[in-house]
């Protein structure tokens, strides 16, 4: 499977559902979606990666870029991921210190709400 993207609003936070592989070929689509969401005024984002089967540095770059964009509007971008094989690349690159990574969308939303 390549990449399947969807998004919906929950409690004022835009949840982006990602399914499939995020690599040099598919990452531009995720990038475009994140840019569109920010351009449309969505600055509180949660990216649900529970169905992501592959993530490489291109994908990391897209997520980092998204984080930069929302932070420019005092927003946030949190991740949902419990898959060790996906978390591994975050650990190797030290990006676990940069992103809030949660076990579920509900946890991510609750965490963000509690910081407001």
């Amino acid at each position: 499977m390549d990449l399947k993207l969807g998004h919906h609003t929950t409690d004022g936070i835009e949840v982006v559902d990602v399914e499939g592989e995020i690599d040099v070929y598919t990452a531009p689509r995720l990038r475009e979606l994140l840019i569109d969401l920010v351009n449309n005024g969505h600055f509180q984002l949660v990216v649900n990666m529970e169905k992501v089967e592959f993530l490489d540095s291109t994908g990391l770059g897209v997520l980092v870029g998204g984080l930069k964009r929302v932070r420019a509007h005092d927003g946030s971008l949190d991740l949902v991921c419990t898959q060790e094989r996906i978390l591994k690349i975050f650990r190797i690159t030290g990006l676990t210190k940069v992103f809030g990574i949660h076990d579920s969308v509900d946890d991510a939303i609750a965490s963000r709400k509690s910081e407001k």
Binding site: S57, K68, R71, I92, V98
Partner: protein, 189 residues
């Protein structure tokens, strides 16, 4: 002689194919199941970088991948043909060092100044910290200045170094190659 050799047009869509082939050959070569995800990711990173370089400098040249499983090692060599001016992302990245040889360099290729590159899976817990991320704590504080524009390129090599047992970047007659290997349980011809 490589177990499998492949060349592919430098298009992003073919990187996935290269990953799948490498994983299949690794499995046949006896690489432990636990390492197959690492093989897939590392080969994908190397091929992605090669595709980007080729697209910029030599889009007519194919990316070359050689996969060899013998003598207890599974080795992958990804070669890009952009010998000069096309390997800026590799220059200063990748020490050519075997695990444990932090700071060494081969063939004039050093290591990015920001990267402490862990040497393979045995360094679990070691991390690479991309420049510009120091202030980007997840607490929601104001961010540090933006990331260097070539972050994905250097990050890719750092990821490879964190995954492969042994990584070496070197110049070849045709360009630049990255060699990475993992232990394997069997031999194939």
């Amino acid at each position: 002689m490589a177990t499998v050799e492949m060349t592919f047009t430098p298009l992003p869509t073919h990187v996935r194919t290269a990953r799948l082939v490498a994983t299949a050959v690794a499995r046949r070569s006896g690489v432990a199941e636990a390492f197959l995800d690492e093989v897939r990711l590392a080969v994908g990173e190397a091929c992605s970088r090669a595709v980007e370089v080729h697209q910029e400098h030599c889009p007519e040249e194919p990316v070359r991948v050689a996969l060899t499983g013998s003598s207890g090692r599974f080795e992958v060599v990804v070669t890009n043909s952009a010998a000069h001016g096309g390997d800026a992302g590799w220059q200063g990245a990748g020490s050519g060092a075997a695990p444990g040889q932090d700071g060494d360099s081969q063939n004039g290729i050093g290591r990015p100044s920001w990267a402490h590159v862990p040497a393979g899976p045995q360094n679990e817990g070691s991390t690479v910290t991309p420049a510009g991320t120091e202030g980007m704590a997840s607490s929601g504080e104001s961010t540090a200045p933006g990331f260097p524009p070539d972050l994905p390129q250097e990050l890719g090599l750092a990821v490879i170094a964190g995954l492969a047992d042994d990584v070496e970047v070197s110049r070849t007659g045709d360009g630049l190659s990255i060699r990475m290997s993992w232990p394997s349980g069997g031999t194939t011809g």
